[in-house]
Symmetry: C2
Subunit: 476 residues, 2 copies
């Protein structure tokens, strides 16, 4: 029976599936026996998880919505496309029949990139070598004919401080690569993100003419990655750009043999007067305690180099999809589950702050706020910030999420947009997807729909829906 030995022999694989399925059922049941949720809820909760999973994966509503949202284009805070996205998402939530679909205003800063953006290495040995650069969000422009200056390469702010006079008049080239050796690439990002954020300030403090930042990605490629930066009162403002990692490697290589090499770049970005934008929200009103809110959300703005499919089109479409799953399965949450799509996470966080301090919050009690803002990749678990008793209680229900593919609930989590709610005692949760592929696309021209897998995206929506529903039913 040679054929029964073959790779795809379905009999054998089915047997394995059955064993895995049987194990999953058993392990979930035993998990339930230790959890704090009342026993009468056991069977319905298990069934609810599987209903959400089945409906979500079959319909892939999150991807359908993300396709519409990314078709709007990039959604830089204050841009016309951001306004279009607000209208679109409001209408989508209305069409889905959510309760109290509405906008709340938030006054946001506006920065635009402008038309002109170019960089080149100006080498005695090799002539001019064009390299991809992009202005960092919030940066001032260069003079009209650009900046041309010698280059001081440093790996850290400490190294810059030790350079002393050598920094004067130079373009400060922060060329520290992200460390690939961590499982969690956010750890790699966290180590170097300060160079991008504070590079212009530190360059100015050292007497430099500009800041040139190695793009924050683990890839070696030709795409510059933007992101926010800031100036400090009392210090000169110097222009800041990101350079592609391949460009950074080339410049560094040339610098070794030709320390007097110059770099030239030109940008035309600028800040415009603040404009009124909006957070978008809709909900399923709680049947028993409507004033108690379980918030799920993401941010609607993106950077301008791409439609922000992962960052954070994913979080927005997952939040709306989570509400859709709950509603269309006919579930009646006891507490209100609200989806909020925040404006201006990338450029100032005003949407999140204005949401938290709005007069409208006075009649509401936010029990839980959950954000998805780490890309639409395979969800692995949740990170929780709140009293340790709450974290421990949530950890006890972690096994309920195994049939959805999530294996843990760990302390520490939240999101920029929901963090302002912590002051009023709201428990914060961040959805944690796998991070291996995130920084390839993050803040670059590659953050496009084609980089999102519809199933991975949907699994995040299902996980959010299920956790929101459990807490809406059982409290926290």
């Amino acid at each position: 029976m040679i054929t029964l030995q073959r790779g795809d022999s379905p009999g054998k694989k089915n047997k394995t599936f059955q064993r895995i399925a049987a194990f999953l059922i058993l392990s979930s049941v035993s998990a339930l026996s230790v959890m704090a949720v009342p026993r009468r809820e056991e069977q319905p909760l298990q069934e609810t998880a599987l209903q959400m999973l089945k409906k979500g994966l079959a319909e892939q509503g999150a991807f359908t919505l993300l396709k519409k949202l990314t078709a709007v284009g990039s959604r830089l805070t204050g841009s016309p496309q951001a306004a279009t996205a607000v209208e679109l998402m409001q209408k989508e939530m209305q069409d889905l029949g959510f309760d109290s679909v509405r906008l709340e205003p938030t006054t946001v800063g506006r920065w635009i990139r402008g038309d002109k953006e170019e960089g080149r290495i100006v080498s005695q040995q090799f002539g001019d070598i064009p390299v991809p650069v992009c202005a960092l969000g919030g940066s001032i422009a260069t003079p009209e004919d650009g900046i041309t200056a010698g280059v001081l390469e440093v790996r850290s702010i400490e190294e810059l401080k030790q350079a002393g006079e050598k920094a004067k008049g130079k373009i400060i080239f922060f060329n520290r690569a992200m460390n690939p050796a961590y499982l969690d690439t956010f750890q790699s990002y966290g180590e170097v993100a300060r160079l991008r954020f504070a590079g212009a300030v530190e360059a100015a403090r050292a007497g430099g003419a500009a800041a040139l930042i190695r793009s924050l990605t683990l890839e070696i490629d030709d795409l510059p990655h933007t992101g926010n930066m800031a100036y400090e009162p009392g210090l000169p403002q110097v222009p800041a750009v990101a350079i592609s990692t391949r460009g950074a490697d080339r410049l560094s290589e040339i610098l070794r043999n030709e320390p007097e090499v110059k770099f030239h770049f030109q940008t035309s970005c600028r800040s415009l007067p603040p404009v009124t934008s909006h957070n978008v929200m809709g909900e399923i009103r709680g049947a028993e305690k409507p004033e108690e809110i379980i918030l799920i959300g993401g941010h609607l703005d993106s950077w301008d180099l791409s439609p922000g499919a992962h960052d954070d089109g994913s979080g927005c479409s997952q939040s709306v999809e989570a509400l859709r799953l709950i509603k269309e399965l006919g579930l009646k949450p006891r507490r209100t589950i609200r989806a909020v799509l925040f404006m201006d996470e990338e450029n100032g966080g005003t949407g999140g702050r204005d949401y938290a301090r709005s007069e409208n919050r006075k009649k509401e009690i936010h029990r839980l706020a959950m954000e998805s803002d780490r890309g639409g990749f395979l969800p692995l678990g949740f990170g929780v910030s709140g009293p340790s008793s709450v974290v421990e209680r949530l950890q006890k229900i972690a096994p309920l999420f195994e049939p959805l593919g999530l294996n843990w609930i760990r302390p520490g989590g939240g999101g920029v947009d929901i963090d302002p709610l912590a002051a009023s005692g709201t428990v914060l949760i961040g959805l944690v997807p796998d991070s291996q592929r995130y920084f390839e696309v993050h803040h670059s021209a590659l953050d496009i729909l084609e980089k999102v897998n519809p199933r991975e995206l949907e699994l995040g929506a299902v996980a959010m829906a299920f956790l929101a529903y459990i807490i809406a039913q059982e409290g926290i």
Copy 2:
């Protein structure tokens, strides 16, 4: 301090990382206190895992090797490229300085696709509509001018059996879509794989002229997916092809309004006489019990439509990489850890069977055999087949894998190539990566290097290295 509220403020993220890191360390330590591994090993094992992770992610040796392997081209059993791949991998293992790098012969069947492969819907209403088809592995060819016949569409073998006389002379169109609603896409695959494997037999039994199988993928696209099939003695042999999912949908749609529509296809595949091929192996000889073997492996052959980057170039490169990590970290396993790259998983499984029954096994005791053959995606856990006491013991050490990103060890697992070792009491383990993206590429022209993420691939190699090393030290 508006800037401190911003999205990428590194201070806040670092704090979260620190909390997560602290939790991971604590949870791993507490896991160790319940595991069966002797206490003196606690610290070294934790450190070993992190050393492997760091070295693997920084060097990404699995992807470097996979790049070389896929450059050989597709590696259909018995093909010249398969022979080239055998030589390449032998040389790579020699260059890495493994012990006892060698080949073991296995006599394999050889099937070739031939030059001609085309399909079309022949409609009265729409004229001829070309659709992508590909012969299934092992199929006979059509007559030289192809087969043109009416179509009977069925969703199952049961439906075909009930069709009775209507099947006579028809092309039997097995058009059952994979169910997208499972978390594990292998479950979806398992439900329908029998239609591909046995479609030609069932078509012949029903008096049909040929079998036309909807490609086994969750995507709707234009790529046909091949795979193995079989004939049964005593029944006529009819040609079998896979049709792309979009082609299948089109044909089904036309059939609804034009039941007399015909389908035409032509193939020129054929089986050639068996040839001698090889399993490739290399090892790190055990310092204390060299005759006890911990086997890690994948299969070196692939289908012919692509270089089999995931299936199973990934498993091969991960197995070699796992050995490299162990060797270059200077670890001295007590038992032998052997990498085996098996030939002919896809077309007969002869490599795995010949390995198990080789005279060379007589002096060896295979304690554990572990296979990676589910794609080079993010590893999630391990599936184990063995005595329940062994499964339980392994489950106790599962928390050791959390810093590597794997969260579970579950009963049920193995691999086609290692399954023949079960008869001699070997514990079998399958590496289980995430399956969301696998069937998009599986057995199609899309199974290419660009579809493999180097970090995800490497994490699988690290997990295999660590588990192999633990068992080499501690026994099973």
